[in-house]
Symmetry: C2
Subunit: 453 residues, 2 copies
C-alpha cells in the first residue's frame, strides 16, 4: 500500500462517486482559490459525475499488480507503481500523445523538469490541478498553476506514461549533452526505413514523450497542455496526436473495439490478465541489457502514425476486405471458422486455397509466423480533419509496448510492409521509438530516477 | 407521435438499456450480415452499454418539442421533427463537422444526394448502419453499404444537422447552377471581414454542411465518413473539424462546461427550456423573408474556427484573466458578485471602477449592450495537434444558431473584435454561414424538400 497520505488509494481524496474532491491537498501551498471555492467545486464535481449516472469504484492499490485491475471509468488510476500506468491499464477511450524536444542544456535542468512533471502527473491523475489553482497570495499577480479547463471534471481514468527518445541520449549530431550516451539501451535504435514509409519529420522522433489516456478527452488534453506549460523553457512540443476509440483491448474485460477499416482490432492482443505473457513480451528484465539496467520494469514504446486510404478501402468489396484481413467483418471471427475468439486455423483449406489467405493480415502477424513474437498494442483511431483534396486525414495511431523493438517490432513490420495486402491501403506518416522507464514507487521519487538519480 | 414504424420512439427498436437493437429494420433490403449476425451484435451492443453502467431512458417523441427533452446519453434522438435535431438538443460531448462542395451539376442530382443523405441519417441516428451492412447477395461483389466501425456501438445520442451555404444558391462566380438564386435567404450573406480575421480559405465556406454530434466520437466520425462516401460523385468534403467538450450548455439540465481558457462557457446561453426565447432568437418564422418561406422553422448557423493563443493566455495572471472575462474562474460567478447564475450587475462599482470592467467579455456580449440580441451557442473545444513551433493548435469551434445573422451575429462580432480585450488572445481562422432548413417530418420527406421539392 502507498504511504502517501495524498494518494486516493489511501482513502483521503476519493469521494463517494469516484471523483476526487478538488480541495488541494498540498497544505504547504494554499491558494486563494482553494480557500474561497473548495466547497462549491466539490459539489460541481459530484453533480457532473451524477449526471451520467456512473457509479464510483474503489481504487485497489497493490504495487505488484496495480493499474490493470482498475476498471476504466471516471475514477482515479494510481500513478505510482512498479511499472508506469497506461501500459497494461485497460485502454481508456481517448488519447492525447505529445513528443517533446528538450531545450534544457544541463542534466540538472532535465532532472528538474522530470521532477516537476512527476509532481504534476501525480496530482492530475488524482483529478487535481497540475498545481494549486489560484495564485498564492504574494506581492505580484501570478498565472494560475493550473489552466482550469478540467476543474470540476472527475479523474476520468487519466494515466500519464513517459518515455525517452534516442535523441535524449545522443543528439542527431552525436552530442552527449546530458552524459547519458553510455546508458542508451541497445534496443533504443534509430528505426530503419520500412517499405512504404512516407514519414513526416514533423510527426516523428522527439526526446521525450507523454502518452495521456483518459475517458474524457478534455482531461487528456488538459494534462498535456499543463505538462507543456510546466516545461516552458526546458522542453517544447515537437508534435502531438489526438486519438479516440481505443482499437486494442488490453484486458479481457473489454469489448473489442473497431478500427477505421471497420474491423475489430486487437482480438488476439496481449491481455493484462495474462501476466506471464506480459512479463515475457512487454517488461524489460534486469539482465536484458547490462548497460541499461535502469530500464528494468520499463518497456519500449513504438509509435507510428498510420494513415489509411479510407476512400479507397470504402470502395472495396466486403469479400475482398475480409480476405485482406483474414476475419469476418461483422463478428471478427477468423475466416477459418468459429467466433471472434476462436484460434486461427491457418491450415484449413477451402475450394480455392487456405480459408485464411496466404497474405491475409492475421496470418502474417500471427505469433506462429513470427517466432512466437507478440506485442502489447494500445493504438487509437485518429481523424485530423480532411486534406485539401476532400479525403479524410484519418487512420490508426499505432502504439505498441515491447520488451525489445529489435526482435519484436522490426522484423514484423518489415514483413507486413512487404507482403501484407493491407499495406496497399496504408501509409506510415509518423514514427518514433522511446524507452519507457519503470514506474515511480516512492513519494519522493521521480520519473527517470533510475537513469538520472 | 411518429407514424413511422421504424422510429425508435414508436417502440420498435429501443431495448432496455437505451441502445437500439442492431437488427436492420429495413425489411426490403436484407443483408448477408443481418441474417448471419444480428443476434450476436445485439448482444455486443448491450454489453457495451452495460460496461459503462449508464442507465437507459425512453425516447419521448413529440413533434412540437422533440429533441430538447431527450437526455444526452447512449440512446437514440429522433431524427424527424418540425425542427432539425442537433440545435436545441442538449449538446452532446463530441463533434465532427464537415463542409462539402457540391460537384453535382443538376438539380436532380442534388435532390438525389439529399434524399440518400436523409435515408442514411435516419438510419444512423437510430444506431443502424448507413445502409444494410453486408452486400446484398448478387452477381458481383460489392462494397458494404456501411463502413462498419460503429457496428456494435449504441446510437450515442447522434444528431445530424444539415445546412446550405451561400454558394449553393449562387456560386462565387455568380452562377445560378441549380436555379436557386431567387430563393437565397436575405440573411444568408457573405459574412464581412471582421477585425482580426485571419481566415484560411481551406477552413471556410462550403455549399453544404453536416454537424454530427454524439456522445461517442467514433459514432460522429462514422456518420460523417459514411455521408461523404454516399456523396461520392455528387459532393466532396471541403473541410472538416473535430471537437470535444461542448462549451455551451443548451439545457438547464447540463452542467456548464469549460472552454480551453479554463472558464465556464455558456452560463448565460439560451436554453431549450425557454421555448419563447428560442422561438424569438433561433427559429426562422414564415414571414421573416417572403423570398425564403422554405426556411420557416429552420435557422441560420454561424461556424467560426477560433484559434486561441493558449501559451500567452497561460502566462497571464489569474486576476487579469478574470478581468478580461468578467467572471471568476473557479465558479464562474460574475465579478459583480453572487454565484454562477446570478445576473450580472454592470453598474456596481469597486474601488477603481466597475467591478465588471468596461471591456470585459461578459459586458460586451450582454443582451443589454446588444439591443436584446441573444444567440444559441453550441460550440466545441478543439485541439488539432500542435504547430511547427511547439504551440498547441487549439481553440473554440464556435457554432451559433440564430434567426438572423445580420442583426444577431454581425454587430456583436464587430464589437467584440474591436473592443474585447479577449480578442487579443484569439484569431479567427475559419468561417462559414449556412441556412439550416426545417426538419423532415414525414417518412417520405427529405432534407431541403421545402426548397427543392
Amino acid at each position: 500500500m502507498s504511504d502517501d497520505p495524498r494518494d486516493p488509494a489511501a482513502g483521503g481524496a476519493v469521494d463517494s462517486v469516484g471523483g476526487t474532491v478538488h480541495e488541494p491537498s498540498d497544505a504547504a501551498a494554499p491558494s486563494r482559490f482553494s480557500r474561497r471555492r473548495a466547497l462549491g467545486l466539490a459539489g460541481a464535481g459530484v453533480a457532473a459525475a451524477g449526471a451520467v449516472a456512473v457509479g464510483g469504484f474503489a481504487v485497489a492499490r497493490d504495487d505488484d499488480a496495480p493499474a490493470e485491475r482498475v476498471a476504466a471509468g471516471h475514477g482515479a488510476i494510481p500513478f505510482r507503481g512498479r511499472h508506469q500506468a497506461g501500459i497494461v491499464t485497460p485502454a481508456q477511450d481517448r488519447l492525447h500523445f505529445a513528443s517533446f524536444d528538450v531545450t534544457a542544456t544541463s542534466r540538472d535542468e532535465l532532472v528538474d523538469l522530470l521532477q516537476r512533471w512527476t509532481a504534476a502527473a501525480a496530482r492530475m491523475t488524482r483529478g487535481e490541478g497540475a498545481g494549486p489553482f489560484g495564485a498564492v497570495d504574494g506581492p505580484y499577480p501570478a498565472p494560475p498553476d493550473d489552466t482550469g479547463e478540467a476543474l470540476g471534471l472527475p479523474p476520468s481514468g487519466l494515466t500519464l506514461t513517459f518515455g525517452f527518445g534516442p535523441t535524449l541520449f545522443t543528439t542527431a549530431e552525436g552530442d552527449d549533452r546530458f552524459g547519458l550516451a553510455g546508458s542508451r539501451p541497445a534496443g533504443l535504435i534509430d528505426l530503419p526505413h520500412f517499405p512504404g514509409d512516407n514519414l513526416d519529420p514533423l510527426r516523428s522522433g522527439g526526446d521525450l514523450c507523454v502518452q495521456a489516456c483518459a475517458n474524457d478527452p478534455q482531461v487528456a488534453v488538459h494534462a498535456i497542455r499543463n505538462l507543456a506549460r510546466i516545461a516552458f523553457g526546458s522542453a517544447s512540443i515537437r508534435w502531438s496526436q489526438l486519438g479516440f476509440g481505443r482499437t486494442s483491448s488490453t484486458s479481457t474485460q473489454q469489448v473489442t473495439a473497431r478500427n477505421l477499416f471497420g474491423f475489430k482490432d486487437g482480438t488476439a492482443n496481449l491481455k493484462a490478465e495474462d501476466p506471464d505473457a506480459v512479463a515475457r513480451h512487454v517488461w524489460v528484465h534486469r539482465d536484458d541489457d547490462p548497460d541499461a539496467r535502469w530500464l528494468a520494469d520499463g518497456s519500449f514504446l513504438v509509435a507510428r502514425r498510420i494513415s489509411m486510404r479510407i476512400e479507397t478501402w470504402d470502395r472495396t468489396s466486403l469479400q475482398e476486405q475480409e480476405a485482406i484481413i483474414g476475419r469476418d467483418k461483422g463478428e471478427g471471427a477468423p475466416l477459418s471458422g468459429g467466433t471472434e475468439f476462436t484460434p486461427l486455423d491457418l491450415d484449413v483449406e477451402g475450394g480455392t486455397g487456405p480459408l485464411i489467405p496466404m497474405r491475409a493480415h492475421v496470418r502474417l502477424t500471427h505469433p506462429s509466423q513470427n517466432d512466437g513474437v507478440e506485442l502489447l498494442r494500445r493504438g487509437y483511431n485518429f481523424t485530423d480533419g480532411s486534406d485539401g483534396l476532400g479525403r479524410l486525414d484519418a487512420g490508426l495511431f499505432f502504439l505498441a509496448y515491447v520488451r525489445d523493438p529489435v526482435t519484436q517490432y522490426v522484423p514484423m513490420q518489415n514483413k507486413i510492409a512487404r507482403d501484407d495486402v493491407l499495406s496497399e491501403y496504408l501509409q506510415h506518416t509518423g514514427s518514433a521509438l522511446y524507452a519507457v522507464p519503470p514506474g515511480v514507487q516512492d513519494a519522493g521519487g521521480f520519473l527517470g530516477e533510475t537513469l538520472l538519480g
